[in-house]
């Protein structure tokens, strides 16, 4: 199958430099262009102050498009947050949530984005209720498939049923490459060490992860109570036994942190991408630490890109750096990490 795999960067990746005031929105666009990426993904609530008001402003949008033009970038994906519990005493009604989704679809379209990322917490009837508007503004709603969720699961089946029943062309999946982790990222392990973790405990956790990869992860179920779904998933994947083993080995807070966090990564078979390719129109190329030799610590970049090629994927792989949160005690260099990751993607795509 012929494929057309393009590279993008999610500005989420530059959050530490933005937080420190070293990069502003334009600085992030400039850095993105420097890596050779041609696409840009935006979290409006991260880098556009007074959200969502400026996006309504024609002058702001003219400036946005002028900057994209200046750096040769194309909008790839707009990351929305359906804040359906914006009030602490209640969840927004279905109608209110659909209105919020339609607002976000409109904002995405105003900034030129063809795809809107929505989160796994988005109720299915909110998505279904927004499809007509999505078609009208021609923005596709992509449900992020983020660890511990996976394609080819009972969780995904519900959405597939909705796609089939409605015949929509404006809803599908955005896989997050964190679902293709062969092991726990080294940056997390090193942080645990700095906090005093014991090698014996780290090994228990790493061995348990390897065992889950070998055996296959028990998949998470669809439940709007995400805390409950998550706990069930963790228990079904042996968390209790593993935590007990770590405790027995004298594990302290750093070991417990490492053990608990190991359940936020998962491994899916890249074949899942091939099976679902008709419903995939954007990808979060999550990564944690790309080494100097362009090898990523945990995400199976070569295998995943090979699957995309085989499937004939036409869309962006959008770098999403998430290793920084484990380096904040020693310092983060997202710019270098994104450069390396883009090069790793380029080699896998062109190689």
């Amino acid at each position: 199958m012929s494929y057309d795999i393009k590279r993008s960067i999610s500005l989420y990746s530059y959050q530490d430099e933005y937080y420190d005031g070293k990069l502003d929105l334009e600085g992030c666009l400039r850095e993105t262009a420097k890596t050779g990426a041609t696409g840009v993904e935006l979290l409006a609530e991260q880098m556009i102050k007074r959200f969502p008001l400026p996006i309504e402003d024609e002058e702001f949008r003219a400036d946005w498009f002028a900057k994209l033009d200046k750096y040769g970038l194309t909008p790839s994906c707009y990351d929305a947050f359906l804040e359906n519990r914006i009030y602490s005493n209640r969840t927004l009604s279905l109608g209110e949530q659909i209105n919020m989704m339609c607002r976000d679809l409109r904002l995405a379209s105003l900034l030129g984005f063809p795809v809107l990322r929505t989160l796994v917490s988005t109720p299915m009837d909110v998505i279904e209720g927004s499809l007509e508007y999505a078609a009208k503004v021609n923005v596709k709603i992509g449900l992020e498939v983020h660890a511990p969720f996976s394609l080819n699961s009972s969780w995904a089946d519900g959405y597939m049923e909705m796609i089939t029943r409605t015949g929509t062309k404006h809803f599908g999946f955005i896989p997050d490459m964190g679902i293709f982790c062969k092991n726990v990222p080294d940056v997390l392990r090193d942080k645990a060490r700095r906090q005093g973790a014991k090698e014996e405990c780290l090994k228990i956790v790493d061995d348990a992860y390897a065992a889950r990869v070998a055996k296959g992860f028990v998949k998470i179920k669809y439940d709007l109570d995400l805390g409950k779904a998550n706990m069930e998933y963790r228990m079904a994947n042996g968390m209790k036994e593993m935590m007990e083993a770590v405790e027995k080995a004298g594990g302290g807070p750093a070991d417990m942190m490492y053990a608990g966090t190991s359940f936020t990564y998962s491994w899916s078979d890249p074949q899942d991408l091939i099976d679902n390719i008709d419903y995939i129109f954007h990808t979060h190329a999550k990564f944690y630490n790309v080494h100097e030799d362009y090898v990523e610590t945990a995400v199976a970049i070569p295998e995943v890109v090979a699957a995309y090629k085989k499937a004939g994927y036409k869309g962006f792989l959008s770098s999403e750096y998430e290793g920084g949160e484990h380096l904040r005690d020693v310092g983060v260099d997202s710019i270098e990490q994104c450069r390396r990751h883009q090069e790793a993607l380029r080699r896998a795509i062109e190689g």
Partner: protein
């Protein structure tokens, strides 16, 4: 490279009204990866040198408006978001303020995004000096 800065080193001071110290204030950045409405900030707890302060004695100030923590729960206005990378000022009532000299603060941000299975609890600690 350096560790992330959370507190504004120049933001620690006593609040003086009519020549009398009625409390103290400090500034820090939200430990979340985007800006948000104050309505999802469910709590800020403050402990200085081992002393806890009551929730009703703590206020948050962003872009020139000050809210009690209970009031913050209903703030959804775009002009009063806690923007990513920006300091918010936290005002704490304490008769006489803090004594001049060295102190240690532990403040915890409880941020509750709608989509997270568990809230984000960010423990922020530092030493500081009151002139």
């Amino acid at each position: 490279m350096a560790a992330r800065q959370i507190f504004n080193p120049d933001g620690f001071k006593n609040i003086v009204e009519d020549g009398k110290a009625t409390g103290f204030q400090f500034e820090f950045k939200a430990q979340y990866y985007r800006g948000f409405t104050l309505s999802i900030l469910h709590n800020i707890s403050v402990n200085v040198d081992g002393e806890d302060f009551a929730r009703e004695d703590i206020c948050i100030s962003v872009h020139g408006e000050t809210f009690t923590l209970d009031q913050a729960l209903t703030v959804v206005d775009s002009d009063y978001r806690w923007e990513f990378g920006e300091y918010a000022a936290i005002l704490v009532k304490k008769d006489g303020g803090l004594a001049p000299g060295k102190h240690h603060i532990k403040a915890v941000q409880l941020i509750v995004p709608s989509y997270m299975p568990f809230p984000t609890e960010a423990v922020c600690e530092t030493d500081f000096v009151i002139e």
